[in-house]
């Protein structure tokens, strides 16, 4: 098993899918869908093997591979995962598979849709496993760009505006990262892009770190929708087609947070220390702002979009606090929020396909009419408000406990917003799923078996990781402890 290049194989799955799809004739939509499903399933299986095979007692990088790519610039194809990487690769595989299943309902330009979808997933996988800054940046962009077309062509409400805004904001963010990348490369003692070389030998002066870290934080933070750079995110969520929202909220935003962690905090520890308070205030601002705005929404997708801003704010808050407990919580939250929003969007997309509205007031009493999908949605909602026993709780708990020692006041400001979140979430759940049947409810049919596997599977994961958080925290904790040794 050790000799198997597991990570490269995982990365190769969507690539093979893309190449295969190019060869499939345009009109064979069913073939296109099953090819995508097959590669997603294989990637899922490999990621699971990787996750199980991951040595939990070891905090360093595992499954490392390294090949020459651009020797002239000291850039190599260097991959490996540590606690964060392993968790996020698994998350991406899960969201990819469920996203493909959800996308079986796509009717229009099917081949192009799946090609772009798989390209996006390739970018995300690549970013999570790459240990070379230049290659990471390239994968990062591969992950961001397809969003433009996916939203613009297959999207709904105000799609062109949302697509343009999203792309421009995210690429402005990448511009900051790129500037930081160049500064790092030319100011470091070693001319290399290798993560280890840069981290250990770069010896960037504190002044330099103080300049570069904000570039990284804001650049990646844009993708993580850190307040007040979150602006693209709710519009993007709403306009995107269902599976793209799932990927977008489920993994892409995590990619931003991951960038802040790996290429911000880990690479420029002094800079991160200097800017800690600013970062924490921005993050906490996002937590409160997202929750308050979400409560005003009448469109289900906008509501989830803003609550994502709030939840990603929590992730960033944990990262900013920078204690091993808070960072563990943040990584855990990345995972559980990924699963949770994927499920949310998948369920909302399911309603929308049938009744073409996402208005909260257009529904009522759904639980009786469509019990399975309702249970899924309700579980996601309850996990979102941090109900113990579901995957959101251990994450939020760890973040708050870990952050309190550094930022007691900000923590005390952020916690009530969760209570407020619980208030609006319960109200929405009550209106949409219980009470008398209303509006469009009679049109809704329950999940089919195939579509159901994706949603129910996600819901099961929420329960599983809520009951047994150790499955994840065993992987994450050694990494986070090593980080702040």
């Amino acid at each position: 098993m050790d000799s198997l290049p597991l990570l490269s194989l995982i990365l190769l799955c969507p690539v093979v899918g893309v190449v295969t799809l190019f060869a499939v004739p345009d009109h064979k939509a069913t073939v296109v869908k099953w090819v995508s499903f097959t590669v997603a399933a294989i990637a899922m299986l490999l990621s699971l093997i990787m996750f199980i095979g991951y040595d939990r007692g070891n905090a360093g990088f595992q499954f490392v591979e390294q090949y020459a790519w651009l020797p002239g610039l000291n850039s190599t194809y260097h991959v490996g995962v540590d606690g964060t990487g392993a968790v996020l690769v698994l998350l991406n595989a899960i969201v990819m598979l469920t996203g493909v299943i959800t996308s079986f309902s796509v009717q229009f330009r099917v081949k192009e849709y799946f090609i772009l979808f798989l390209v996006l997933v390739t970018g995300v996988f690549g970013s999570f496993i790459c240990l070379d800054f230049l290659l990471f940046f390239i994968f990062f962009e591969i992950a961001v760009l397809p969003m433009y077309l996916l939203i613009g062509i297959w999207g709904s409400t105000n799609r062109e505006y949302a697509a343009l805004k999203l792309t421009l904001m995210l690429l402005a963010g990448s511009g900051l990262v790129f500037a930081g990348l160049i500064m790092t490369y030319f100011n470091s003692a070693v001319r290399s892009f290798d993560f280890f070389a840069l981290k250990e030998h770069a010896a960037l002066s504190p002044d330099m770190q103080n300049i570069i870290y904000p570039l990284m934080f804001l650049g990646f933070g844009t993708l993580a929708a850190v307040f007040p750079l979150h602006n693209w995110s709710p519009d993007g969520h709403v306009a995107a087609p269902t599976a793209v929202s799932m990927l977008h909220a489920g993994v892409l935003m995590k990619l931003g947070a991951y960038g802040v962690l790996r290429y911000g905090i880990e690479m420029y520890p002094i800079g991160a220390e200097t800017w800690r308070t600013v970062a924490a205030v921005m993050a906490a601002g996002g937590v409160v702002y997202g929750a308050l705005v979400a409560a005003q929404q009448t469109d289900l997708k906008y509501m989830i979009g803003y609550s994502s801003v709030s939840h990603m704010g929590l992730v960033m808050f944990g990262l900013a606090a920078g204690t091993s407990y808070a960072v563990s919580g943040a990584v855990f939250q990345m995972f559980s929020h990924g699963i949770m929003t994927a499920l949310f969007f998948s369920a909302v997309g399911f309603f929308y396909e049938q009744s073409h509205t996402r208005d909260i007031s257009a529904y009522g009493g759904l639980a009786r009419k469509a019990p399975w999908v309702s249970i899924c949605f309700i579980l996601a909602g309850l996990a979102g408000i941090g109900l113990p026993g579901l995957a959101g709780f251990p994450a939020e708990f760890m973040i708050f406990v870990g952050a309190y020692e550094k930022f007691p006041i900000l923590t005390l400001i952020a916690v009530p917003s969760l209570v407020f979140g619980a208030f609006y979430m319960l109200r929405v759940l009550q209106r949409v799923f219980f009470g008398p049947e209303a509006g469009h409810t009679p049109e809704i049919r329950d999940l089919s078996f195939f579509g159901g596997t994706a949603r129910v599977g996600l819901a099961a994961l929420i329960v599983l990781f809520g009951i047994m958080p150790r499955l994840l925290s065993d992987v994450i904790a050694p990494y986070a402890e090593a980080l702040f040794k």
Partner: protein
């Protein structure tokens, strides 16, 4: 000696063939184009054969080295694609079309010379050979009065810029007591140069250059000329003609920079102004060709920025980006030409629904636009990375940051074209856009090249490194 000058001889032969052919009255433009196509292919082969030649000819006025030979090869390939894709010459009167190909080779010859010049007078002659050919090509379009206006404007401003350059040249002659680059460098090294003559001379010669490159503030002619000229001519201007200017300019800059420390700052500032101007004005454009004109102004700015990183990596960077620049611009104009089938002077709105009308062209257009914006993993990103990093290595971090900001801004108007092509709806219900087999295969080959050079830049990069360009450029 003929093997040393093989590319030039080949271009000259093409010129002569076309000249004699054009004397006959009943030569069809299709035949002229076929001859041009075949002969430009011959020129590519000749340039390839002559790739490893070296020499200093004609009383040290003409230098053959790996730098010049590679540029000649790039130009020859560019000429070939221009001959291949710049067809049909719809807006040029029929009786002039054969002459178009005549000027095509005379300009081509001038561009080859520009890559090798080592003497200010030869430089002037080569520049004028290109310029006069291009004036004629731009002026050939007769279906709109504006195009005659733009041709006259281009000619007048160009003539003034040449005059300024020529005057500057005379000052340099006075300062250095010689016209070859070698003589100037030698005089500078010994400190026998009169700076009061040299500096104004250099400034004037450079402004004449910057005019040819359409760099700020000498750019005003470019959008009008692109817009007023027939699209194949605009393609010619944007692709090969600009590269030849870059080839000669970089050689001079590289020779002079050790002696003129302020040159670096001046060019850096001009680079930033050029890209910012190009990018900001591009926003407001409606005509596709004007948009691409401003985009090529901005691109010239990026290349200028790469030039001032006089580190060892700078020549590779400029060369790499020149190649990529050629590929990207060929694709842009290829698609524009295909759109002209349905309407003259395409606007950005004419790209609407291109995706539904011709998916391959839309795809290659998108690849090329994203690459122009410098988005990874396309070769435009890698090229920009090389340019910016060679400037950063020289310590111009802030100029680089400004350039990166510019790249982000440029994405906005490039996205506008992508948006029209992919999200817009075509005018008629469903109107497939016909494209020739040539255009389709060229679009495919070029866009694959743009992607592959970005994903796997190593072979080209290693090849450029192995040519030892920095040494070739040294005095």
């Amino acid at each position: 000696m003929i093997d040393v000058l093989l590319p030039e001889v080949s271009a000259l032969t093409g010129l002569l063939i076309l000249f004699f052919l054009s004397l006959s009255d009943n030569l069809s433009d299709a035949l002229a184009r076929r001859v041009t196509l075949i002969w430009s292919l011959v020129t590519v082969v000749c340039s390839f054969i002559a790739l490893d030649q070296t020499g200093l000819l004609f009383s040290e006025s003409y230098r053959i080295d790996s730098y010049s030979q590679l540029f000649k090869l790039i130009i020859a390939v560019g000429l070939f694609f221009n001959a291949l894709l710049g067809w049909p010459l719809r807006s040029i009167p029929e009786e002039q079309r054969t002459e178009y190909y005549l000027f095509f080779f005379s300009a081509g010859l001038g561009m080859m010379l520009l890559a090798s010049v080592f003497n200010f007078l030869v430089l002037y002659l080569a520049m004028e050979l290109v310029a006069y050919s291009v004036y004629a090509m731009v002026g050939m379009r007769r279906d709109r009065t504006e195009s005659i206006e733009s041709a006259v404007k281009y000619f007048l401003v160009g003539a003034v810029s040449s005059a300024v350059g020529l005057y500057g040249l005379s000052l340099i002659y006075g300062a250095a007591q010689g016209l070859t680059f070698g003589a100037l460098v030698e005089a500078l090294r010994q400190g026998t140069v009169e700076p009061r003559l040299l500096i104004p001379g250099v400034v004037m010669v450079f402004s004449s250059f910057l005019f040819k490159l359409a760099a700020f503030p000498f750019h005003v002619w470019a959008p009008d000329a692109y817009d007023g000229a027939a699209s194949p001519v605009a393609m010619f201007l944007a692709s090969v003609s600009k590269l030849a200017g870059i080839a000669a300019l970089f050689r001079i800059v590289y020779l002079l920079h050790p002696f003129l420390p302020r040159l670096e700052t001046a060019l850096g500032v001009i680079a930033i102004l050029t890209m910012s101007y190009g990018n900001f004005v591009a926003f407001r454009q409606k005509s596709a060709k004007r948009l691409f004109a401003y985009s090529s102004i901005a691109q010239a700015g990026y290349i200028l920025l790469g030039m001032i990183g006089f580190a060892a990596s700078s020549p590779q960077a400029v060369m790499f980006y020149s190649i990529v620049y050629l590929l990207m611009n060929l694709v842009l104009f290829l698609v524009t030409l295909a759109l002209e089938e349905s309407r003259a002077d395409p606007e950005i709105s004419s790209f609407a629904g291109l995706y539904k009308r011709n998916a391959l062209l839309a795809f290659s257009l998108m690849v090329s636009l994203f690459s122009l914006a410098g988005v990874p993993p396309l070769s435009g990103f890698f090229g920009k990375w090389l340019l910016f990093s060679s400037a950063a290595e020289q310590g111009h971090i802030w100029l680089v940051v400004l350039a990166i900001l510019n790249s982000v801004i440029s994405l906005y108007y490039y996205l506008f074209v992508v948006k029209a092509a992919y999200f817009g709806d075509p005018d008629k219900k469903y109107s497939p856009l016909p494209s020739t087999f040539t255009a389709r295969s060229a679009a495919f080959v070029l866009s694959v090249a743009i992607a592959m050079l970005g994903l796997f830049p190593r072979p080209l990069f290693d090849f450029l490194t192995s040519l030892n360009l920095a040494q070739a450029l040294a005095p």
